[in-house]
Each structure stands twice: as C-alpha cells, then as structure tokens.
Amino acid sequence: MADPFEVRMRFTSQLRQLNASVTSAQKAAQYALKYRDMAEDLHSCILEQLERNNMNTRANIMYFIEHFLDMANKDGHVDYVRMMQRDIIRVVDAVAPDDGSGAANVKVVRKVLHAMQSKSFLDAQVVTQIEEVLRDRDVAAQDIAMSSPPADHADGGDGADGLGDMPPSRTLPPYHGKGGSGGPPKLDKKQIEQRMEEDRERHKRQRENIWAVPPGEDAEMEKLWEETSDLGEDDHRMGEEELAEWRAEFEARKCVHQREGADGLK
C-alpha cells in the first residue's frame, strides 16, 4: 500500500507537468486509476491544481479531465465521474475565471464540455447553463480588449476605428470584473508562446483523425458527395487538359506509317 501522501504528491506533479501530448494525460490518468481507493483525495488534487496553476496548465488539466473521465468510465470507476459531475462548476470557474484572465481558456472549456456532454458525462441542461455564463465571460473579455486601456480611451473617443465599437447584436452590459478598469492581467510572453505550441500540437493530433470515415453504409460515398462541388469552371478546365493530353498520347502512339500519312494529309 502506497503512502497516501506520496501518491498525492506524485499525482500533483503529474498534473503540473501535463502538456499537449496524449501520453502525459494517459500517464496521469492511469496513475489516478491505479490508486482509485484514494479517489476522493486525488479528485481534490485536481481541483487544487486547477486553482493554483497558470492559464496553460489549467487548460491542459481541462483537456486531461476529458481524457481521464473517458478512461475511468471504461474501467468502471464511476466514482471519478460522479465527483467531476458534482464539481464541474467549480472546475469551469477555475479554468475560465471571470476576472478576464480566463478569456483564452473559454474556448477550451467549451470544447471539453461539449465532448463530455456527447459522452453523456454531463447533462445537456448543465452544459447549456454553463455556456451562458461562459458567453458573458468570453464577450466581456473581448469588450476589455476592444476598449483598450484607459489611456487610450481619451484619444480613442473616435469610435470609428476604435476596437470599442461593438455591433449591437453583441452588446452586453460593460464588464466590471474584479480587476476593475485595469483589464485582465497581462499575459506572460512565454506562456503565450507555450500555449500556441500546445494548441498546435493538439490541432495536429486532431487532424490525424480527419481522414477517418464514420461507420455506416455509404458513409464514405455521402462524405464524398458532400465534398464534391457543383460542375464548374475548374471541371471544364480539367476536361480540356485531359482531352489535350489524350490527343497528344493518341498521336504519339500511332503507327509510324499512320503518323506519316496524317502528316501527308495535312
């Protein structure tokens, strides 16, 4: 029996070291499943790390949660799933806080929530509610960006080229978060770059599966049909080119005497 304290420490460090790769998430998930008798403890670990770490780690943990619940469910450890359902609001608050610092994570949260909903870890109703809150945070963050720092407000009165002019459809009560009028804390350059790299990595992995054809009869045909454009200029051009090629080939493969004969006729 492993020392509970040690297990906790190890799991914590694994959460902190999560990155965009699947293996890092798998490793942490397997560890948590191995010590499932300490499920409660490890779950609190996740919450704790979500609240303590920077934006990137939070996003990584969020992606990890999706993966983790998947594995837990597969192995029949519904405890983890249940606890996560219970605390999902807290998780979302931690990953995309409403102080504006979580704007970059809003998209992550949305993505993961939808994935969890589609795997029926979450109720559609819960997701919809969270969605609404998120939209405020998202747009609010944008609002801050648009209105730029106060210094700019003075000379930025000309809303014409300013970022502050939001289209009516998007207008929401101006955001006044905990940060006051100072806007969200400025993100660290390194963190931004790290985040971009991790996003690219995730995107790459996601693209690895795009060729997959959904199961079902004629699925592939349907897909191709969907992707096929109407007959257009391009097709005519291709036709012309193919015809020209064919003619050239035809000419080239004629018997010698025929070729000469043709020339003679000309």
């Binding site: 704007a103 944008q142 080229d161 300013g162 806007g183 996003d199």
Partner: protein, 771 residues
C-alpha cells in the same frame, strides 16, 4: 509486352528491374541463341543503374526512382537472383560498357535511348511506356550486336522465350545457367575498351571465375579460347547442373565463345535469327541443349524454332545475314568511341550532373537540405539539384518530399519552377530543376544593378500570374518570400520551393496547420492561429514581396515570434478594428494576442511616397486585415497598376548583362564580408579612442559594443541587415531591438524559421536558430 507478363508471373513481380533481369536471364539460358546474347546486354543495362552510368540505371529504375526503394531495388533484385548476383555485377559493368559485343552499339544505346527516355518517362509519369522503351533499347543493343534494326525482333523473341522459360523453370537454378552466360559476355565486354566497366568487370569476373573454375573443369572446350570455350562449357554445365548461379564465364572469352560456341548449340532454333553476328552462333553451341528441350515443350512463341525463327527472319531480311552484320558491328563500335568525347572533368564526373567539388556548387540551403548547381554533361544544360534530406528520417523517405514532388509534377507554368526529374544517385535522392541565375533577394541586394519601374511591374505581374495559376489549380504555396522567388537572366520570374505547398479544397473550408509561411510574410489571421485559411495567405505574402521589390526591404521584419510579428504589422498598418475585420475576435489566439493599445495606420504616410498611386492602392487592398477582403490573384492582375498605369511592364532582359549569379546565398556572403570589414574598422577606431583619452572611452566603447551585438544577427541572415535600417526607422522595432542578446537569438530563429508543416521541422529550425 508479353515478356513483362511472363517475367512477373514467373519471377518476381515485385520489382520491375528484377523482372527484367529475370526475363533476360531466362531468355539467355533458354534461348542460348544470339538472342540470349542480347538479353545479357539488357541485363547490363539494368545493373548499370548501380554503376556510374546513372542514366541507364535510371532508365530501368524509372519507377523506383519515385520511391526511395528504387535505389535499393537494384541491389535487391540482384540478390534475389542469388546465383545471378555474381554475374550481375559483371553484367552491370559489362552493360554500361557494353562494348564487349562487337555491336557495342549497346553501350552507346544505354546512355542514349533507354537511358534518358526511361528516366524522364519513369520519373515524371511513371507510366509503363518509358519502361518499355528502356527495355527494348536494352535488348536491342545487346541482342543485336550488329544492327539496331534486329533489336526489336530479337527482343520480342527473347521476351517470348523468357516467359515460357520462366514458367517452366521457376527455380533459380535454371536461371543460374543463363547468368553464367552473361558473365561470359560481360567478361568479353570488359576486354573491350570500356574503361570503368573493365575494373568492375574484372573483379566480378575474378569472383565468378573461381566458382566457374570449379564448375568449369568439367566443360570440355577450355583450351582454345580460354574464356570463350569455357563459357560455353559453363553454360552447358550450368544447364545440366542447373543449380549453379556462379557459373559466370570468363569475360575475354566471350567474343570468341560467341563466335564459336553459339553456332554449335543453337543452330536449330535461333541461329538464323542471330546469325548476323558470329557470336550468336557460338552461343548456340553453348545453349543448344537447353533451348531445344524447353522451347519445344513449353513455349508457343519461341515455337522454339518457328516463333523466333519468324521474327528473326524478318530481321535478317532487313539486313544481310551473318557476315555483313559483323562488319556493321565493327563500324558501330567506332561510332561509339567517337561519341563519348566529354571533357576530362565531365568524364570524371560520377554523375550525369557535373557538380563542382565540395561546397562550391551549393547555391542554397535550408531546413529542407541543400541545393546544388549542376551541369548535365551530355546536354550541357544547367540544373538545380535539390537534395532531399534523409538524415533523421525514421520513417523512410520523407512524406513532405513526396508531397512536394507530387505537387510539382502537376504544375506546368512559365512562372512556376519546373521539376525536370527525380534522380537517385549514390544513395541520395535529388529533385532536378531548371536552373535560374538569380533569386529575388539576391537581385534586390545586387550591388550595382537597379530595377527600372517597368521591370518592377513586370516582376510583380509574373509573381501574381504564377500565384493565380497555383490558386486556380487549388494549390496553396504557403512559403512565398523573396528568397523563394527565382529570376532567370532574361527577367523571367518563377515561384520555387514547394516544400510547404499543398492542395486545398476550393469549395469547402478545411483545417490546415497554421505553422506555415516564413514569419515575416505571415498574414495576421495565421498569426492569430487561424487554421481555416485559404489563398489569401499567399496574397499577403506576395504583397510583402511586392513592397520589397519597390523598397528592397522587408516591410514587417519581426524578431521571429508571433507576438513581435503582430506588433510589427500593427506598427505599420495600425491595429485592426472590428469594422476592418469582424471575425478577428473569433480567431483562436485572439484572447492571447489581442492588441492592448490602439494605433492608427502609418502605411500611407510611409509608403505613398515610394510607390506610384496605383501601386499604393493595390498594396493597401492586399494588406487588409480581413482575409475575405483581400483581392484574389486574378483580381490583382486586373488592377489598373498592371493594366493602365504607365510605365507598362517591361521584361528585365538587362539581367543578361550583369553577369554572375545573385541568390540569397551570394548576397549573404557579400554582406558578411562587409560586416567583417566594418567590424575591423570599428575595432580600429575603438583602439584609437582608448589611446586618445579616458573620457571618450566610455560612450564610444558602448556604442561599438552595441554595433557588434547587432551585427552577429545580421550576419546570420542577409535580409536582416538589409532591413535593419528599416527597423531602426520605426520606434517599436527599435524598442524591441534593444533587448540585446535575447533579441539576437530570436533573430536567428526568425531567419531559420521556415515553419514547416511538421513539428519536427520547426523544432529543428528553432534548435538550430538558438544554437
């Protein structure tokens, strides 16, 4: 032809090369008649691939060339024919030199006919045609030592016979017999004038000879013509023994053997056909045993006597039979000797494309590998050889290279660089392009030559014509930049480096990687993480290049990071408003990279004076933040700048007179040279100051230090230097520029940052940049 079918069925369907050799082998062993002799030569042709005569090799390898396997395939093929392998070596050398046969014609034929035809056909189309052509050529040369006319008929026979043989003799042993014959032939060849082949052949023969000797003893004919007699004997032995592949007979004897032995053995079936050359007769002597049995039973075509006989008769009818043919053969030999009048340095070249030794021939390098300048020793035409980087490739031939080749083969336009062939040589794979003397970076940095406004317009026009072609074809270039745009010495511009290019879906939006395009030329949507982009990204890059054509400086010379690059763009074009770009807030990284300040555009103020009114209007439309609002390449070409505004586009034919070559590489070297001199001057000045007095020392030394700090960066990339003045011109840039050493590192990274699609590539870049 039928031959192929037979080959594949009987032997290894896997590799064409292997298939051919087999067929040949069979033909020889069975045919024994002169026809066999010819097959041998064809063998040579195939093995030649490995040999210095890359050409012939290619001809056979056509298909293999596409895939990396091609390179290896030849060797495999040989190996497969366990027994034949030994002989093959001989064959190779022999064939290449083909001279052994009086007809020597073959040797010349290899390089010419099968050679190139095969090459191109294979490399470009991969269609069966080229391959066939090559095969036939080979057959012809070898089989019909004398006149080429016979070649076809013989080849046909040989092929026919082969399949049947194959069917009957599936075991290698049967093949072995033929190889030995070949060995003999090759030996004979070695005796002949071919220089390179001789050595190879000799070695091979020696090896072969030993085995032969063992087997040889039994043969009866040894005494008279050592080799000749031996070979026939061997044949007979091999046939009998079946299992001995090593049988290859002595080479020198070949000629004699041909003359004497063939006649004896084969007279029944093929003698008439091959009659022209005396050799065939000799061969017959050696082969007869096999020929009669197998052909008669198994082969309809050979109809042992009938099939071949028919064809041969035809051939023979064309040309006078035995004696005249031999005479002709001799004549041909003379011609062959005359043909290879290559200058010594070319003759010494191991490649068809002569390159200066060492790094002298390098005209460019990057993450993709190196580009060499080469001269085709036969046509004397210049080519650019792009070596495909295989180091560190764990999964074999890089898929990016395959993609690039596939893309390039589908393109043919005057403003797109033309891929002539793909070549495998000495375990390296090269893409062979037409050679152009300049690239845009080199040209714009040329020390003396300046472009006329008409030239600039013509260059810009060609740039967009090329781009329009690509986009109509559904190709995104994704790495448009000055260094990737080549200019011939007649002022023709061509887009190059399709290493990042891809086909895109025109009618629906797909997801692509956003790590593309050298960062200075990267559009705002890509910098903000967009993965669903289209041709507008190329338009942005092209607009950057167009500015460079006018000002010779990059318009957005960032430090290599996305954050700084966006700042650079904002510094010139201002920060985008929601009105400018409604979808900006949807960009994945907008929350990360949104501007925290507002800035008006200074583009007009800065560039209006440097451009004509129409050019300014055109550029402003292309530098729109919203990709949907940027014009397409076709629309750009209809802009008044190209259609109505004076001066009209004018081809820069003057480039012919400037001499030399100006690529990024050269201009970099030039700059480095300059920097060195400046540095030395600065150092000297510093020395003086130090001596003159302590007061001046402080400020002076610090300023010189500054300079030195910046120079290393510049040295790393020619473009940087050029752009340096520009950087200092705008406040933002300077601020970031003063961050000192960290900036240097970033600059390096920026220069190296080609942002390949694959992460490994970019990681490599960055690592090298930082290192």
């Amino acid at each position: 032809m039928a031959a192929r079918g037979g080959f594949r069925g009987g032997f290894n369907p896997q590799q064409l090369q292997s298939g051919y050799p087999k067929g040949q082998y069979d033909a020889r062993g069975y045919g024994q008649s002169p026809g066999h002799g010819t097959p041998v030569s064809s063998f040579h042709g195939s093995p030649a691939v490995q040999s210095p005569f890359g050409g012939s090799g290619r001809g056979w390898n056509n298909q293999p060339q596409f895939s990396p396997q091609g390179q290896f395939s030849p060797s495999y093929a040989h190996n497969n024919y366990g027994p034949p392998t030994g002989p093959q070596g001989q064959y190779h050398s022999g064939p290449a030199h083909s001279p052994p046969y009086p007809p020597t014609g073959p040797s010349s034929q290899y390089p010419t006919g099968p050679y190139r035809g095969g090459h191109r056909g294979g490399s470009f189309r991969g269609s069966p045609f080229p391959a066939r052509g090559g095969v036939r050529g080979g057959f012809k040369s070898t089989q019909w030592h004398t006149p080429s006319n016979n070649a076809r008929g013989q080849a046909g026979q040989a092929e026919d016979s082969e399949p049947s043989h194959a069917a009957s003799h599936q075991s290698p042993s049967s093949h072995a017999g033929p190889p030995s014959e070949k060995g003999e032939l090759s030996a004979a060849e070695s005796d002949n004038p071919f220089r390179p082949s001789k050595e190879l052949q000799v070695e091979d023969t020696s090896k072969e000879d030993q085995p032969k000797e063992e087997k040889m003893p039994p043969p009866s004919r040894p005494p008279p013509t050592g080799p000749q007699s031996a070979t026939p004997n061997k044949f007979s032995f091999s046939m009998k023994n079946a299992a001995r592949p090593a049988v290859a007979a002595p080479r020198p004897e070949i000629s004699s053997k041909f003359n004497a032995a063939p006649a004896a053995r084969e007279p029944p079936s093929k003698p008439a056909q091959k009659a022209p050359p005396t050799r065939p007769e000799r061969d017959r002597g050696g082969f007869p045993k096999n020929a009669p049995t197998e052909p008669a039973s198994a082969r309809p075509r050979p109809g042992v006597p009938s099939g071949p006989g028919d064809r041969r008769p035809l051939e023979t009818s064309r040309q006078p039979e035995p004696t005249p043919k031999t005479r002709k053969v001799k004549k041909i030999v003379r011609r062959l000797k005359e043909k290879p009048t290559l200058p010594p340095d070319f003759a010494a070249s191991k490649s068809v494309f002569f390159r200066k030794p060492g790094n002298e021939s390098v005209v460019g390098s990057g993450t993709y590998g190196k580009v060499f300048k080469g001269l085709n020793v036969y046509t004397k035409k210049l080519v650019a050889l792009k070596k495909i980087r295989m180091e560190g490739e764990k999964d074999g031939f890089p898929v990016t290279a395959v993609r690039e080749i596939k893309l390039l083969r589908s393109l043919s336009h005057k403003n797109v660089v033309q891929l002539q062939e793909v070549m495998v040589e000495a375990n390296d794979c090269f893409m062979v392009f037409e050679y152009l003397s300049h690239d845009l970076t080199g040209l714009l940095n040329h020390p003396t030559f300046t472009l006329h406004p008409g030239h600039k317009k013509h260059l810009a026009q060609q740039l967009f014509e090329g781009l329009d072609y690509l986009h109509t074809r559904g190709v995104l270039h994704r790495d448009i930049k000055a260094a990737n745009i080549l200019v011939s010495n007649e002022g023709i511009l061509k887009l190059a480096d399709f290493g990042l290019a891809r086909f895109y879906a025109k009618h629906h939006q797909l997801d692509y990687t956003n790590r593309v395009i050298t960062i200075w030329y990267r559009s705002p949507e890509l910098l903000l993480g967009e993965t669903q982009y289209g041709p507008a990204v190329d338009i942005w890059s092209a607009a950057c290049v167009m500015v460079e054509i006018f000002t010779t400086r990059a318009i957005f010379p960032g430090d290599g990071s996305e954050i700084n690059q966006l700042e650079k763009i904002h510094a010139v074009l201002g920060t985008p408003s929601r009105k400018d770009w409604p979808n900006m807030v949807e960009m994945p990284w907008f929350p990360l990279l949104r501007p925290t300040y507002r800035k008006p555009s200074v583009f007009e103020e800065k560039y209006k004076g440097l451009l004509t009114p129409a050019a300014f209007d055109l550029l402003s439309s292309m530098f729109r933040y919203d990709p949907d609002k940027r014009p397409s390449a076709a629309e750009v070409l209809k802009h008044p700048y190209f259609t109505t505004e004076e001066p009209a586009p004018r081809q820069a034919v003057e480039l012919k007179d400037i001499g030399g070559e100006w690529h990024e590489l050269e201009s970099k070297a030039l700059r480095r040279e300059k920097e060195k001199r400046e540095k030395e001057r600065a150092r000297a000045a510093q020395h003086q100051h130090q001596q003159s007095g302590p007061k001046e020392d402080g400020p002076e030394s610090s300023s010189s230090r500054d300079r030195e700090r910046k120079r290393p960066n510049e040295g790393s990339d020619a473009q940087r230097e050029a752009k340096r003045p520009h950087i200092e011109a705008n406040g933002k840039a300077e601020r970031s520029g003063q961050t000192g050493s960290s900036r240097d590192l970033e600059l390096d990274a920026a220069s190296g940052r080609l942002v390949p699609v694959q992460d490994s590539g970019s990681a490599r870049n960055r690592a090298s940049g930082n290192g």
